[in-house]
Every structure is written in C-alpha cells, then in structure tokens.
C-alpha cells in the first residue's frame, strides 16, 4: 500500500536527479503532519466547548508540536536530502498522492506552521468571548491545505490543495458580517478563475509529459520546453500565480478581503496564502526560469505591481488597507525578483518571503490591537498612542523599520539582496539598472508608508486618554516575530542552510551566495542609503505628497469586476425568459423548427430526390387518399370544435380503411374502435368548453402553416426515401413461416402481441393502466375543484343526447350481447382479428353506451355496474406480470409461454396474459366514461367527504 522507501527507489531510478540521497527521517511523517492538522481541525469543536476562544492556545501548541515533529526531517534538508512518501490515489490517471519535503517546501512549511502558531496564539485575545468554532476549524483546515500545497509532489495533488486554500479563504472572508459576502465572492471568483487556469495547465502538462509527478517534470524541462504547449502552459501558470498573489490586474480582491477579521488577514492575506502564487512561480523556475519571455513578463508585471501598490498604500488612511496595498506591492517585488532567476535573485526571493512574512504578520496583529484598543484604524482619528501604549509603539516601530529596510532589521538584508537580484536582470542590456531603479522607487514609497503607519498611530498629541497598554498575552504573539526580525538581521546567517537548499531546488547545481548582513560598501548599500534618504525627503513633503496622491484619479477597487458581475446576472436573467413561457406552443416551436432544419439539411445533403418504390401504391388507395386529405385539412382548419371532432373521426375511419387495404385488418379494427372511444372522450372533454376555438392571429397562422407545410413535405420525402425499397424483413418472413408451429395461432399479428413481442404488450398495457389511474386522480382533483362555484357540471349525459328511454331499452338488450361478443372476440383472437385488446374495447363500448343511457357506469346491468378502474388495472397488471414471472420461476426467460390446466382444460399462459390486457383496457374505458363523463352522482356525493376514499375507482 504505502511506498515507504519511495524516496530511495525513485531517486535511484531517476537518471535526471544527481542528488545524493538518503532517507533518514521517516517519510510517512509528512502524511502524519497532514493527518495531524486534519485531526486538530476535527477536535476543535470539542475543545471550543470547554475552552471557548482560548482554543487558539491549544491550536498554537499543536502547530508548534507539528514543527517539532518535522524538525528531524527539516534538519536533513540542508544535506540535500529529500523525504518523500506516496499513497495510491487515482492510478487510472497515473496520479498518486505523493508528498515531498525539499528545501523550498521546508521554507514554506516553517512559514505556514510558525506564523500559524503565532496567529493562533493571537486569536484568543483578539476574538470576542465565545466559541468561534467555525473560525478555528476553518483556520486549521486552511493551514492543513497550505501545508499540503507546499508539500505536494504531484501536480494534481498540488491543485487539490490550491483549490482548498481558495475555498477556505472564501468562507473565512465571507463569514464575517453582512457586507463581507460581496468581498468574499470577488476574492473567490478571481482566485478560482486562476485555479481553473492552473487546472488547465496541470492537465496540459500531464498530457504533454505523460506524468503528473512534479520532480520528474522539473528534472526534464525539455519535456515541456520542446512541446507545442510550452507557452499555453506557461501563460496559464503565470495567470494562476498572479491571481493568487494579487498581481496587476488581478489585485482587486486582496484589499477587499480586508473585511475579514485581522487574524485571517494576517495569516491568509499577508503571510501565507498569497505567497502560494510566488511558490508556484518558484517551483516552475527550473523549467521556465531560463526563458526570456518568462523573465520579462514577471519583471514587468511584478515591478509595475510593486510601484502601483506602494503608491496606493501611501494614500490610504485605513491602516489595514494600507497594509493590504503594501502586501500587493511586496508581492510584486517577489514576483519580479523570482523572474530574474539568477542565484542572487532567487536567494533574495526566499529571504524576502521570510522577511515579509515576519514584519507583515506583526504589523497586521498590531494594527488589530490598535483597532481593538482605540476603536479605530484610521490615521485621521488616531494620534499619540505612544504615550499610552509604549510597548505596542515599540513593536510597531521594529516591524515598520524592517519593512522600510532600515538596518539592522532583516528587512534591510532582504531589501539589499533584492536590489542586487534585480540588478542582475539580463532580459536586455539595460534591464538590470531599470529593474533595480524600479525596485528602489518602490522601496522609497515603502519607506514612506512605513513611517506613515507609525506616525499616523503613535505620533502627535494624545486624544484618547482612557486607553492603556493591552494585556501581554495580546502583545506577545506580535512581539515574537518583531523581535525575530531584529535578531535575524545580524544573525541572518542562520537562515543560510535553508535558503541555499531552497535556491538549489529552484536552480539545481548553481553556486548559491549566502545571505550576509554586511556586504561592505557595495552598490546595494548606497541604494539602501539613497532609499532611506529619499524616503525621509518624501516624508518631509508628505503634505503636498498627500494632496497629490489624493487628487490622483481613482476607480473604486474592483468596480470593473462588480460591473462585469452585475452584467453577467442581467444577461442570465434575460436567458431565463424562454424557460418561463407559459403555453405549450412556446416550447414546441423550438423542437419543430429544429427538426425541420435537420431534416432539410439531410435532404439537401442527400444528392438526389427520393423516388417512390415501385408497386407500393394500389388503385384503391387514391379514392381513400382523397377523402383523407379533405378530411384532414378540414379538421386542421375547422373553427367549430364539434366540426373538428367529426372531421377527425372521418380521418380516423379513412386511415383505418387504408390499413384494411394495406393488409392489416387487426390494425384497422383496433383503430376503428379506438377512434370511437377517442371521440367519446373528446366529446366529454370539450363539452364544458367554448364551442369555438380561439381565433389565431393572421401573421402567426401564416408562419405556423409555413412550418407545417415544410415539415409535411419533409415527412413525405422521408417516407418515399426510406420505405418500400427492400424485401420483407428476415424477422417478418420468420413469423409468417413459423408463427403457427411456435404458437399454434393463425393470426400472426396476434401471436406477435401475446407471444413474440409480449414484452411490448406488457409495456403498452402498463401505459394504459397508468393513463387510467391518471385520469381518475386528475379528475378527482378537478372534481373537488368544480364544487359549487366554478362551472358546475350537470351530472348525466351530454347535452347532445336526447330521448333517454330509447337508449336505456336498447342498452338492456344490447349490453349482454356485446359482452358475449367481447368474450367471443377474446378467444378467437388467436386465429382471426380479435384478441384481448379488441375484445375489451367492444366491452368498453357497451360500458360507454350504458353511460349514455343511464348517466353512470353500468346502469342496470350488474356485471358492468360493478366495474371499477383501479381494481381492473391493478388486477390486470398483476395477472400479466405473474404470467411473465412464472416463467422466470420455472428457470426460463421472462414471459416464456407454457400451458397450464384450469378446470382440466389446457390454457396457454398467453391467453392468461391476454386476459390481463383485457382487464386493464376495460379499466381505462371505465375510467374515461366515469371520469370524463361528467362525474356521475356517485362522485358528486363524494365531494361532501374531502377524506380520501380507499377506492379511487368510481361509484361506491
């Protein structure tokens, strides 16, 4: 299951990786850490139950513990050892869940866990009293996802965690207050869009290189560089990185995200998540680092973002917003210097990533403290806090100095190495100086706004005297990184082992310059000095500077985005309209038009016009045809409902005659009977409606007629082209030859219905049964509605009928006869036209007649009187199915016919099956007559009882 020695095995097998390898630390520890994170998240709800907001301390301890667990692993990294573990996941894609700890990962792992611990320790005093389970769970889950992201050695796995960070960020931003949702959405949509770019890139890479195992891909850049997909992939990767790391023009979401609570801003949107983009760029440096286009793109966008962000930061009054823009700017510097890709540049990138995380997290936490204590983050409302909060002031000063790049802070070291790195840009001859210059410009602004932060909050006269220094527990989490920033300046050397191995992961086999605190009188030193001087100058003229910046035209952040968002919704709203159209015609036109288009296209594609097959027409056809045409057109154009009905019946009769001519007597007979019943149903249905159809607007009827004609022509052509051009089908011939000996029946069609294709008949019977039930249910509902008020239905026969007595007498005579006929037809069906269906229809007509005579099912004929729809349908179906399943019980296929003995007589199961059909059909007829038939008295008296009767079948 688990490939413990994966590291060894893989590395040895891998010709492209020339690193010495040894697995000292236990590889599975990496999964252990991830699982541990998940475990922490899982137990949070339990802890919050009894610790409330103090849960943060437990989590902080947990994070530190995990660092401790990882230390042995991390310790091996400087020796260029790699620890790797894999679990099977989606072998079908060749994707495994592989995690791997190398130098670059180690840096980010420590960042995630370290800063995480601080934030977690900060939460308890920042959050209000309460449980905050959601926040803690989400924060822990985010940390887990972030860990996974930097540990993943498989592209798909990396993408998975990438998305998870996005989602966690969404819920962390949006969870806080009413207005947060929109900011959260903006952040989500932009970063998710980038995520999709990453997905596309990942899939393309897998397709091109045939693997998703990151180290292999990085070890063989040519796999991508030589493929046609080199630039699509590169572009998509950059897109993903830029959205995540808020580079122009995708920066809009980051300032908005500041609505989230401070711990979230500090952790996700300053220290870690926004660095995921940088991490991605660093990861792919081995592949793209050498490409000029890559370098140029990263440099230009990065530096532009750096200056733009810094300038905007300088004009903010809200300290948190200021920090947000400063983050944008610093990320820009990181992107640019990563793009340069020389050893110095990459070292600078790593160093600055660490430095930035340290001071930016500190500043966020401190601003949060100020906010909590003074109740505001606006420099225009804050003043002189240094008198009441000296410690806070001191810590802020430390962090701000580090950000400004003033010695001896670590910010100073990283800033100098940044200048050095940018100076090495060699896209063109003049690129270096320009880049360095831009870097300096950004740094000058950085210095200015660093001062602005401190001065804004702490300088000047004290206005809020009641304030006091916050509790040490509140300050401590911020103090640690602030002091660390101070110590790590002179002591930067301690970072070297990690940074060096990290850089080696980005640029294998280069000589990596160590980080040093003092370069001597290097050009960078002068740049730093110049930066500080210029920054101070800028500070002295801050008044004019402010006016200048405030005057500068500005678009509210993300306005473009919001416009697009609203636009999309408007468009969508418009798209929903067709789906709201009420009448059937609005939904039928589409299909009809589509069909016409398709058919016409097909006929055009066919090179020749269809020709009639010889001998398919007989002389007798034509008179029938004429009648048919006349009746049909008449039925279509008739305005009076009754006329239309009559013509429709005429059409039915002619069609049935046509079937008789075509040698299908069963069909003809059935159709005839069906026509009768359909007519009855139609009459019953329309008698409560206006006796004229609504008029049709002229233009519309013309269009409709046009469509109809075209479709008619197409249909005719299709019939010509597709029918009658071949001999009788194999199956058809078989039936004619063997039907008798297989089934003993002479009426082949009937043997098909109850024998060869009994399954079709079973389905057909089910349909009829359900239709019957539907009728009963539907009209019971309406019946209930048609109670006093809406159009009352006179129980009894339709208006057209008169002279009841005659009917009643004839019915008394006729009914028994028809029933007998029906029985006869049923049994002879096997040998001549007839069978269950036809027989049932005959009986049904008797029922109908009885209704006409008596205004209710049955009249005075006992058998018919006792008929109910539901039992007939249910019983019939059960019979059919039992016949079918009895075969299965005998171990034969479904519906295999056999003989059974009823009362000593041999009875074919087919006959029983046919009987089932008979019952269901009768059930339908009863339902039609009983329900459509003006809901006889029996139903009427049910209205008084709203309770559902057990029997839906009709009259009790």
């Amino acid at each position: 299951m688990v490939a413990l020695a994966a590291a060894v095995g893989r590395e040895e097998g891998d010709a492209h990786d020339d690193r010495p390898v040894g697995v000292r630390a236990e590889p599975m520890i990496l999964f252990g850490v991830l699982v541990g994170m998940g475990g922490l998240a899982a137990v949070v709800p339990v802890i919050t139950r009894w610790l409330g907001r103090d849960t943060g301390y437990v989590l902080a301890a947990g994070f530190l513990a995990l660092i401790g667990v990882l230390t042995p692993a991390v310790a091996t990294v400087p020796d260029q050892d790699v620890i790797e573990a894999e679990l099977p996941w989606l072998p079908i894609f060749g994707v495994t869940a592989t995690v791997r700890l190398d130098g670059l990962s180690a840096v980010f792992v420590l960042l995630v866990l370290g800063v995480g611990a601080l934030i977690m320790a900060y939460c308890p005093r920042y959050l209000s009293v309460g449980r905050h389970t959601r926040t803690y769970v989400l924060l822990t889950l985010f940390a887990a996802a972030m860990l996974g992201l930097v540990l993943a050695a498989d592209l798909v796995l990396l993408f998975v965690f990438w998305e998870l960070t996005t989602i966690a960020s969404f819920f962390l931003i949006g969870g806080s207050g009413a207005h947060s949702a929109r900011a959260a959405t903006r952040a989500l949509v932009i970063t998710f869009g980038g995520g999709l770019a990453l997905l596309a890139a990942v899939v393309l890479i897998i397709v091109e290189t045939g693997t998703s195992y990151l180290p292999d891909i990085l070890a063989q850049p040519e796999l991508i560089l030589d493929s046609p997909m080199i630039w699509p992939v590169g572009l998509l990767l950059v897109l993903a990185a830029f959205t995540k790391s808020a580079q122009l023009p995708f920066h809009a979401w980051l300032p908005g995200a500041m609505v989230a609570i401070t711990p979230v801003s500090a952790y996700l949107h300053a220290a870690t998540m926004v660095k995921a983009g940088i991490y991605l760029l660093m990861r792919f440096t081995p592949v793209y680092g050498g490409q000029v286009a890559w370098q140029a793109g990263l440099l230009i966008i990065g530096l532009a973002t750096a200056i733009f962000g810094a300038a905007l930061a300088l004009r903010q009054h809200d300290l948190k917003a200021l920090l947000a823009y400063s983050t944008v700017s610093q990320l820009g510097l990181l992107v640019a210097v990563t793009g340069v890709g020389t050893p110095h540049a990459l070292t600078a990138a790593v160093a600055h990533t660490v430095a930035h995380a340290l001071y930016k997290a500190t500043l966020f936490m401190l601003v949060g403290i100020i906010d909590r204590e003074a109740g505001s983050r606006d420099v225009r409302e804050l003043s002189g806090l240094r008198r009441v909060m000296p410690v806070t002031a001191f810590l802020t000063a430390l962090a701000a100095l580090s950000m400004a790049g003033v010695p001896p802070m670590i910010g100073f070291v990283s800033k100098e190495s940044l200048f050095q790195g940018l100076g090495e840009a060699d896209v063109t001859s003049w690129a270096g100086p320009v880049a360095a210059g831009a870097g300096v410009a950004a740094s000058i602004l950085t210095f200015a706004y660093s001062v602005r932060i401190f001065r804004g909050a702490f300088a000047g006269p004290l206005m809020q005297r009641q304030l006091y220094e916050p509790h040490w527990q509140f300050l401590a989490p911020a103090a640690v990184p602030a002091v660390a920033g101070l110590v790590l300046g002179p002591g930067v050397a301690v970072l070297n082992p990690l940074t060096i191995s990290a850089v080696l992961d980005m640029a294998p086999g280069v000589v990596v310059p160590p980080l040093v605190f003092w370069h001597g009188l290097s050009p960078e030193l002068f740049l730093s000095a110049f930066t500080i001087a210029a920054g101070l100058l800028l500070f002295t003229v801050r008044g004019r500077m402010d006016r200048l910046l405030q005057a500068a035209p500005s678009t509210p952040e993300g306005m473009l985005f919001d416009r697009g968002f609203a636009g999309a919704h408007r468009l969508a709203g418009w798209l929903t309209r067709p789906g709201d159209a009420r009448t059937p015609v609005s939904h039928l036109t589409g299909p009809v038009v589509g069909l016409v288009g398709l058919a016409v296209g097909a006929l055009v594609a066919a090179d020749r016009l269809p020709t009639p097959a010889p001998g398919t027409s007989r002389a007798l056809d034509w008179p029938v045809l004429v009648l048919l045409v006349v009746a049909t057109i008449g039925a279509a154009l008739a305005r009076r409902v009754l006329l239309a009905l009559i013509l429709l019946g005429l059409v039915g009769i002619t069609v049935s005659a046509w079937f008789a001519l075509a040698g299908a007597p069963d069909v003809a007979l059935t159709l005839l009977l069906v026509e009768v019943l359909t007519a009855v149903a139609a009459v019953l249905a329309v008698r409560v409606m206006p006796d004229r159809f609504p008029a049709v607007p002229r233009r519309r009827s013309v269009v409709t007629a046009g469509l109809a004609t075209v479709l008619g022509l197409v249909a005719a052509g299709g019939t010509l082209a597709f029918t009658g051009h071949r001999d009788r089908s194999r199956a058809g011939t078989y039936f004619l030859q063997f039907a008798e000996e297989e089934t003993g029946g002479h009426n082949v069609v009937n043997t098909l219905l109850v024998g060869f294709r009994a399954l079709d008949t079973l389905g057909e019977t089910t349909v009829l049964g359900v239709a019957a039930l539907g009728l009963v249910l539907l009209l019971r509902e309406t019946a209930r509605r048609d109670l006093p008020g809406d159009d009352p239905i006179v129980p009894g026969p339709p208006r057209q009928v008169s002279n009841r007595a005659v009917f009643q007498v004839t019915y008394r005579v006729l009914a028994p006869a028809m029933l007998t006929l029906s029985v006869y037809l049923f049994f002879r069906g096997h040998y001549a036209p007839g069978g269950g269906f036809i027989a049932a229809l005959v009986a049904g007509i008797a029922v109908t007649f009885g209704w006409i005579a008596h205004g209710r099912v049955g009249g005075r004929v006992p058998i018919i009187r006792s008929l109910r729809a539901a039992p007939l349908v249910g019983g019939g179906l059960v019979l059919c199915l039992l016949v079918g399943l009895s075969a299965s019980l005998r171990g034969e296929p479904f519906l295999t016919p056999t003989y059974t003995y009823l009362a000593g007589l041999p009875v074919s199961t087919s006959t029983l099956f046919d009987l089932g059909v008979y019952l269901v059909v009768l059930g339908l007829v009863v339902a039609v007559v009983d329900r459509l038939g003006g809901l006889g008295p029996a139903v009427a008296h049910r209205f008084t009882r709203p309770v559902e009767p057990a029997n839906a079948g009709g009259a009790p």
């Binding site: 709201d580 007989r618 069609v655 040698g663 069909v667 409606m689 409709t704 709203p946």
Partner: protein, 138 residues
C-alpha cells in the same frame, strides 16, 4: 407514393394544430401525427405485399410483414392512452388562465407568491395547500 402523400398531409395538418393555443387543438394535432407515424410504420414493412397475415389463407409470400403491424397496434394503443389523458388534462385545466395566456411571465421573480409547500407532516391531508385560487374558472 399514396402513403407518402397521406403522411405529408397528416404531418402538415398535425404540426399546424400542435402549434396552436389550447390543449384540445394540440391533442387533435397529435392524433393526426399519430396517424401519420402509424402509416409510416406499416409502410416500412413494404406495401408491395398486402395480404393479411393469417396463416393458411394465402401463400405467405403475398402476405404483408406482420412485425410493423404489431408495432402499429402497440403504438395506437399507447397514443390512445396518452391522448385520452391529454384530453382529460385539457378538461381539468378549463379556465386556468395560463391556458390562453401566451406572453411569458416576467420570470420566476413574479412566480405566484403562494409558493406551494406540499403537505409537511406525513399523514396530513395532501391536497391542502394546493387548492387553486377560486374564481379562476371560466
């Protein structure tokens, strides 16, 4: 040839009717379309041979293909069932305003506020909140 013409006319008329307002006409349209399809089905067996398929009445090679006839029978019956149900639906929705109204409603936003909630408690009388607005009928 004759079949093709018949089919063409029936399809044209049927299509014309189903594109009208009012369920009754639509139902009539589908009856016509049903006839057309049945004609196609029987024709698909080849109309050169038109002997009724009863064993022993005539030489088999004159007999029509019985399979399409079986198809048609099944189709007729199914169409019958559905048509009757459609007519019942037309009957049931007499007077319901949507029946005539053709202009699309202005979107789900303006869906009837009395958004229906089926019987919440099992055992509760189902039809309860589905009772339609009174006076909707013609």
């Amino acid at each position: 040839m004759s079949t093709a013409i018949a089919v063409g006319v029936l399809v044209a008329a049927g299509t014309y009717l189903i594109l009208q307002r009012g369920l009754v006409r639509i139902a009539f349209g589908f009856i016509l379309l049903g006839h057309a399809v049945n004609l196609v089905l029987v024709a698909s067996g080849g109309l050169q041979r038109r002997g009724a398929p009863f064993i022993g009445q005539r030489p088999t090679d004159e007999m029509a293909d019985p399979l399409p006839q079986a198809f048609v029978l099944t189709a007729i019956v199914i169409t019958f069932g559905i048509t009757v149900y459609l007519l019942a639906l037309a009957r049931a929705s007499v007077g319901s305003t949507e029946e005539q109204a053709d202009e699309p409603s202005t979107g789900p936003a303006t869906a009837p506020p009395a958004d229906d909630a089926p019987p919440a408690a099992p055992g509760g009388n189902p039809g309860r909140d589905d009772r339609p607005p009174r006076g909707g009928a013609a």
